[in-house]
Amino acid sequence: MRAAEVVRRPTPWLIAAAVLAFALLPLQGNDVGLREDLLLAAVYIILATNLNLMIGYAGYVNFGNIVFFGLGGYVCVWLVNAHAWPLFAAALLAGAVVSVLALCFGFGILRLRGAYFALATIGVNEGVKAFVANFSPWGGSTGIYLSITAYQPLGGPASALWTIYFLLVAVMALSLALSYAVKNSKFGLGLRAIGQNEDAALVLGVPTRRYKAMAYSASAFLPAMAGALFFFKSAFIQPDDAYDLVLSTEAIVAVMLGGQGTIVGPLLGAFLYEELRGTLLTTKAFSNFQLVIAGLLLLVIVQFVPGGLMGWVHRRWPRTKRILE
């Protein structure tokens, strides 16, 4: 897929526009409130977009996807706290470590078919959580607290928060770019074949074992970096927050809501879901029902609109398939 081709298609421009919006809007008038809102949206978008590689392309639901986020967070915070690593290097290493681990793990658990794999990923998440909760070098069940001095290399807390935000937006941009690159590559073709009919794909020559493990590993890298940045920003990480199955589930809802298998879908779905969630949480009547609403959304989507928003749009206006991938 050459550069000339990419530039000619609408979707990369849409992605670029979205990224620019995220980067520039909060700068208008130094809007910290908007920045925090968009930061959370960016996290959801990163999780959903990378999860889409597994769900939307390969057809494997990674219920425990949050384990990448949490593990990345732990590696980074620990490196910064115990070994005074600079943030950028720590985050990068976190991404690398987690995706290598995912590759090794992937070969094992991806031998399991769709549903069994899904359950096993919950197992991986819960297992890692329980392990970390008992692992004293990482603070056990109390977790790790970052002292405020960690922000000094970044120019103090206020300026650090901005830097972290832009780094997260960059990770979001990379996630969308990765999603696009994979979808239009031979690797993506093979993955989608696996998602349609794994047995047929194998007989057609797709190296299913290798491809699945690669997808799993690829889907781990950027969420791990996002986790690294997010928990550094929070200055505090503990097992229940890091391996939060609710967030893991919300990522799935976001992918399904927006339209699995598309590029714009997870972006849209994550953004919409995060906004919905934010609104609900601030409305007293609904704050307890976050999980219920998410569940109802997923229920309706799976049963009536399994293609999500983008799926519906593509069916209704087939021309959009090329414009909004």
Binding site: V61, G114, G127, L202, Q290, A294
Partner: protein
């Protein structure tokens, strides 16, 4: 020494109840290839059902029958809401559908009851041997489990409806052609699976305290047991439950409780990868080449 033995025996008793819970899961899985992710919520439903019935003054063991019936009714509802439409579709969809239903149920549960601890006090004399007491409730639970399992066996193998269920499990199209109303049979099977889950929940409530979130732990145990026993194999589920109970009995004297979950997950993943057909039987393949 006897302490460990006692722990093992107790584990087996409790394990039988895990097996009962898993029987519901494996029945649904085996008959319609649907993984019921509301299983945990249904166990919790049984727990709360028993709780409220006993607060009304009904003795615990007498309340089991209405819990069974209630579970059955809820099962029918859950089937029509979240399972019926996704039966023909890829298994991914039914997984997500029941998962979503579970989110709704647990979400409602936590909204109503929060994370408060509930308990159903049951007074039953136990058996004391060499200074170790085998609690009456554990013994009773195991006995009841055996009876229910026996009843299930009779139903599936001796009664017409049970045979119809097995026919649909074996080949839905052929069953349909033979005049069996497969949709109704599927709904019934699902409801039966849920009923088993809820009654096992009720039995567990006589043994341990519980919260709205307890279901997750027991759901995990049910999955471990199901893959141990082989999908769609209720007898295997019972044996698998006992095996798991045995394992727990062996572990608990030596390790902090928080490790039990990890170990069970590890066992789960290992069994799935190494024994795709379960330790006790062989059914559909869980693994790819």
């Amino acid at each position: 020494m006897f302490g460990i033995l006692a722990s093992i025996v107790d584990g087996v008793l409790v394990g039988a109840v895990y097996g009962l819970a898993a029987m519901g899961l494996t029945l649904i899985w085996g008959v319609m290839n649907v993984i019921n992710l509301t299983h945990g919520a249904m166990i919790v439903a049984g727990m709360f059902g028993l709780f409220y019935l006993t607060t009304l003054g009904i003795p615990a063991y007498a309340a089991l029958a209405p819990v069974l019936a209630g579970g059955f009714a809820i099962g029918i509802a859950v089937y029509w809401i979240s399972v019926h439409r996704v039966i023909g579709r890829p298994p991914l969809m039914s997984l997500l559908s029941t998962f979503a239903m579970n989110m709704v149920l647990i979400g409602l549960g936590t909204a109503v009851w929060g994370t408060a601890l509930f308990n159903v006090p049951v007074a039953l004399p136990g058996i004391t041997l060499r200074g170790y007491t085998f609690t009456g409730t554990h013994l009773m639970a195991a006995v009841l489990t055996a009876s229910i399992a026996g009843a299930l066996y009779l139903f599936l193998y001796r009664m017409r409806l049970g045979k119809a269920i097995r026919a649909v499990a074996s080949n839905r199209e052929a069953a349909e052609l033979n005049g069996i109303p497969t949709t109704q049979v599927l709904a019934l099977t699902f409801a039966l699976g849920v009923a088993l889950a809820s009654i096992s929940g009720a039995l567990i409530a006589t043994l341990f305290p519980f919260t709205v979130l307890s279901g997750t732990a027991y759901q995990l145990k049910s999955f471990v047991v199901t893959v141990l026993g082989g999908l769609g194999n209720p007898a295997g589920a019972l044996l698998g439950g006992i095996a798991l109970g045995l394992l727990e009995g062996l572990i608990t004297p030596f390790m902090p409780v928080s490790w039990t979950t990890v170990i069970e997950f590890v066992v789960f993943v290992i069994v799935l990868i190494a024994f795709p057909r379960g330790l006790f039987a062989f059914v559909r393949h869980a693994r790819t080449r």
